[in-house]
Every structure is written in structure tokens, then in C-alpha cells.
Subunit: 190 residues, 4 copies
């Protein structure tokens, strides 16, 4: 199976990035618990979606591999802005704003690279497997479209209120988990 080794590497990066988050939890900082939970859940969501994308591919080429490396670079980056948010979100002022902006733009970069990956793989069916499920493919394409803009909007809220920006990311994660578990039964079998 030609996509297997890519998945092993990607799963490793997902698992390590998520697990490293614990290194920044401090007993003296209550916010760090919430930041841990939010970033872990978000990495989990990205992992589930990456799973869905890979399940529709039959092969990968070098350009796709390098695009995946870039995408994983944004995923592995997540522990850094998580720590910034945990440390500074309650400080107010420029530090809180910069932390929230770094957090948000990491997810904007992640969603752009993820959408690019999918666009490359699906355009003209380039890397799709012969028996790729048309409805799932269309569903993935449809769901990528608003993603970047929603993340960008949530990020820009940090100029008004850094805390509100991070709370919107939390709400989006919660909404996504509930919505895709309860309602989006298309292609729900992973």
C-alpha cells in the first residue's frame, strides 16, 4: 500500500505534537489546562480529517510528500503558540494579543497547507484511488472551502479581544466534534 509509510510518519508527528503539549502544563497556571485540552482536541480533529483525506488516495507523488512535510511542520508548531497563549492570554495588552495572533495564524497556515494538499491530490482525480467515494470526495472539497476563512476571521478577532479569539477556536473545535459525530453521517465510517 503506497500511502502506508506516509501515514506512519504523519501519525507519529500528530501523536508527538499532541503529547508534547503536556510539557507546558503548569500547576500554577490554570489556563494551561484549558490550553492543553483545546490544542490536544484540535490536533485530534486535524488527525481525523487527515485520516479521511488519506483514505481516498491511491498513491502519492514527491510533490505531495513535500506538501505533507510542510503541512506537518505547521502541526508540529502548535505546542509553541499553545504555550504562548497559556502564559500570556491573561496578561492583557500586546503580549496577550501577540499570543492569540500566533495561535490563530498557526491554524490559518495549517488550514491553507491542508487545503493545498487536498486541492493538489483531488484536482482531476490526480492521486485519488480508483474506487474513491465520490460523495466523500465532494464532501471533503466542500468542507475545506470555508475552513481557511473561518480560521482567519477567528484570528483577526484577537485585535479586538485576544481571549475572545481563543474562545472562538474552542467553540469551533467543540462544534466540529459534535456536528461531525452526530449529524455528518456521510462517509462517517472512517
Amino acid at each position: 500500500v503506497p500511502t502506508t509509510r506516509l501515514e506512519t510518519f504523519a501519525d507519529g508527528v500528530f501523536a508527538i505534537a499532541a503529547t508534547l503539549l503536556i510539557l507546558d502544563v503548569k500547576a500554577s497556571n490554570g489556563v494551561s489546562y484549558a490550553a492543553y485540552g483545546l490544542s490536544f482536541a484540535t490536533i485530534g480533529i486535524i488527525w481525523v480529517n487527515h485520516h479521511t483525506v488519506m483514505s481516498q488516495l491511491g498513491a502519492v507523488d514527491r510533490a505531495f510528500l513535500f506538501m505533507t512535510v510542510f503541512f506537518l511542520m505547521t502541526v508540529a508548531f502548535i505546542p509553541f503558540p499553545t504555550q504562548l497563549v497559556a502564559e500570556h492570554i491573561r496578561d492583557g495588552g500586546a503580549e496577550a494579543r501577540d499570543a492569540a495572533l500566533t495561535y490563530g495564524f498557526t491554524f490559518v497556515a495549517m488550514s491553507i497547507s491542508f487545503a493545498g494538499l487536498w486541492a493538489y491530490a483531488s484536482r482531476g482525480g490526480r492521486l485519488l484511488k480508483p474506487d474513491a467515494d465520490e460523495r466523500t470526495v465532494a464532501g471533503i472539497t466542500r468542507s475545506f472551502r470555508p475552513g481557511v476563512f473561518v480560521y482567519l476571521a477567528a484570528t483577526l478577532v484577537a485585535y479586538l479581544s485576544p481571549i475572545a479569539s481563543v474562545c472562538i477556536f474552542a467553540a469551533l473545535a467543540l462544534f466540529y466534534v459534535l456536528e461531525s459525530s452526530l449529524f455528518a453521517r456521510d462517509g462517517g465510517r472512517a
Copy 2:
């Protein structure tokens, strides 16, 4: 095999969480050796049990994936209370109690999310594989029932004696390993 990639991700989180424990062992702190051993062994037990659960499933859906992410979030959290216990259990007073409570409630949360995962997968045979072994399925269900309560009781002991609470967790781990290796031959072949 539709459950394969979930297992790769989960095994990564188990392996990393267990291996990160070494970062908190300090030569100047004898308790940190015992805390390392206890948490490593407990993560190993959870991993073995997760192994047994997954071996009975034929497929997973999105809700199950997200429940697994939540479950793994509690597993990846374990190095944090382990460090608290290693540092504070001998201090006595509120610090020792809070360390033991954080340790215990992490395992309560883990066992609730693990039991929820299994209840979701097994109810009405939802995600069981067609040839799931009935005795193993019944055995898993039976063994989950007391787990949460035993862990909760062990945790609450910390209000009386933090050290006793942690020792009960150690005794439970030891008992579990011996009991399931020596006596529970049902479904013992993993």
C-alpha cells in the same frame, strides 16, 4: 483494516507519554523513581487493555474517533500529575494532597472516557467485528464496571492520606498485572 491507523496513533501517544516520564526523574529525588515505575506500568496496563478492546472491533466511526482523542488526552496527561506526586508527596499538607488528588482524578477521567468508549462501541454490537468473541466482550464489559469506582475510592483516600492514596494505585497496578497474567486466562491470548 479500518482500525489500523487509529491504533498507530494511539500506540504513539501511549509510547510517548510513557517515555516522557523519564524527563521528570531526578537523581536527588528518590520518590521520582517509584513514580516513574508506577506511571509507566499503569500506562502499560491501559495500553494492554486498549489492545484487547480494539481487537474486538471491526470498524470505527467519527464519534468513536473523537472519543478516542478524548481518552488519549487523559493518557497523555499522566506525566503531569506523576511529576506533581514525585515532587510534593513527601511535603505533607495541601501540596501533597493536591498532587495525589490530581493524580487520582486523572485516572478517574481516563477510566470514565475508556468505559464510555467501550459502551459506545459495544452497545448493540455497534462497532464489534462480526466474529467478536462473546466471552471476551462480556469479560471486558464486566471488568469496566468496577474500574471507575475503585479509582474514585482510591482517589478520595487522598483527603485522609495522600501517600496511602498513591500506594493504593500502586497496589491496584500490581494486583492487576499478577491477576490478569496468572489467572484470567479467558481471552488471554492477545
Copy 3:
């Protein structure tokens, strides 16, 4: 498949080395972002190439396993010189030079051990799979030849200008990704 477990171990080391890079990114050090990006991308490139090499092998022997362990030792070393470069490249003087030299020689050592691995496996077809693709095998051999010398030259530039040396590594990585994605369609399907 006899090479599978070797790949799992190697992929683990690649994924962890890349993900650990985030631990050295500091908000107060703008260079650390660039160093993160460069080293992550370079580890990604090595991983892709290792992938290509392994795809041509049918079996591995003990000597090959130990050579792989040595190769992975150089890969897992990368986070250390990356941190040195991030901290010292702007200091000028001996510290910047030593950082750039340590960075460069790590990649020289990596490329020597990687070339040795391939020479051992491919000489006389020793470990090649029966249906190894002749053009891919010849292409790998051809591409290893200049690698060590190019890295060595880039490293020695650090005696003149440490920053220039690191920039050449960045240019090589960028060139490699673009060239192998866009032009090198031989054996491009991974």
C-alpha cells in the same frame, strides 16, 4: 515484509526528531522560527529519500540494521545544532562559526552514513528486491554521489561567513524540493 519494522523505527526517529525541534523555538528569538523551518524541511527531505531507498530493498541484514542505527543517530542529532544556530548565528565571531560548523558537519555525517547505507545495500544488488526498478536504482546512486561534497562545501563556507553557510543549506533544501517535485519525474511515484 522484512523491511517493515525497520521503517517503523526509522519513521519514529524521523517524526520525533522533527517534532522535538519545536522545543527550541523562542518567541524572543526570530531566528529560531527560520531554524525550525529549515531543519524540519531538511528532515522531511531525508525522510522522503529514505522512503525511496527502502522501497527498492527486499530484505535487510544485521550489518544494514546497524548502519541504519548509525544513520538515525545523525538524524536524531539535528535538533542540537539547530538550537546552536538559532542561539548563536547572529552573535558573530567564534560562536556563530562553531554553530554553523556543527550544523554543517551533522549533515555531512548524515550524508556519508546515508550514502554508505545505499552503497552497502545496492552493491551487486545485495539487498535489492528482485523487481527493483533499474532506473530508480541508478538514479539513487547518481544522486548520492555529489551529496556529500555539496554538503561539505556548504559547511566550509562557515569559515568565511557562518550566515552564508546556513543560507546555502536553506537554498539547497528549497532547490531540492522544487527540483524533485517539478522536474524529476523518474520514479516520482513514491
Copy 4:
């Protein structure tokens, strides 16, 4: 394949323990480079041998899983004494001796648990696969016998000279790699 998931978990622990070693390399401490190289190589050797052992097994039971957890606990412990040796071996006196003893006893514990694992699996062919290779099985049994004693002797040398003790571990690793690559062609194909 019933042993697959055990190998994924074990390979994760091996890869993470080896890669975490880089966190203790310090530019200001030349010994830390040698300690990194020695412990990485030794973990690589243990991994190769674990690989050989697992290749002869057909199935695992719960007792074997828990014995493996204990064995991996000793492997994941290696970064800790490695750091002690890197920091204290040149101090002389009690600190150097304690560092070398901790280093040595970690490997004694590892080799005891590894030998126990193999004794359990191979006694009466309990977990061997039906087509296990008799010569390889006998060869593994033979090579485990002296291991514990050699490691114990090398450890006790630390009472006379801590540096000599660590150098013996280095010589054993080097000898093992050369010997098993060049001469031990029995079962050499992994």
C-alpha cells in the same frame, strides 16, 4: 498478525528513548557527545535483538505483554543514567561512581528483563511460531546466557574506576556490532 501491535508500541518506545537522548547534549560538555553516541548505539542494538526475538514468536499472551512493559520501562530509563554519566563522569569521587553504577545497573535490569522475556516465550516453545527457526532459537538462548553476567561485571568495575566501567560498555557495544555484522551470519537476515 497478533504480534504487530506489540512491535509498534515497542518500536515507539525505542525510537523515543533514543531520540530524547539529544535533549541532554550540551555544547559545553564534550563528554555528552560520547554519551549520546554510546546510548543511542546501545538502544539500537537492543532494538535489533528485540526484532530478532519477535521474529520467532507466533503469538503473545498477557503475561508476555506485561513482561514487555517492564522491559520497555528499563529501555525508556536509559536517557536518565546517560545524562548522569555525561554530567558527572569527569567529577571523580562518589558522583562519578554513582553515575556509572546507575548506568550499569540500568543495563543489568534491562538484560535480566529481556532474558526473562525470552525464557518465558521459548520455554517449551510456548509462544514460538510453528515455523520458528531452531538454529535461531538456540542461538538466541545461547547469546542471552552470558549477557547478564557480562553487564554485571562491567558495572561492578565502577567501584574501581567509573570511567573504565563506561568504556567497557562502549567496547562491548562496538564489539557486538562488528561481531554480529561480520561473523554471526546465522540468522543474519533479519
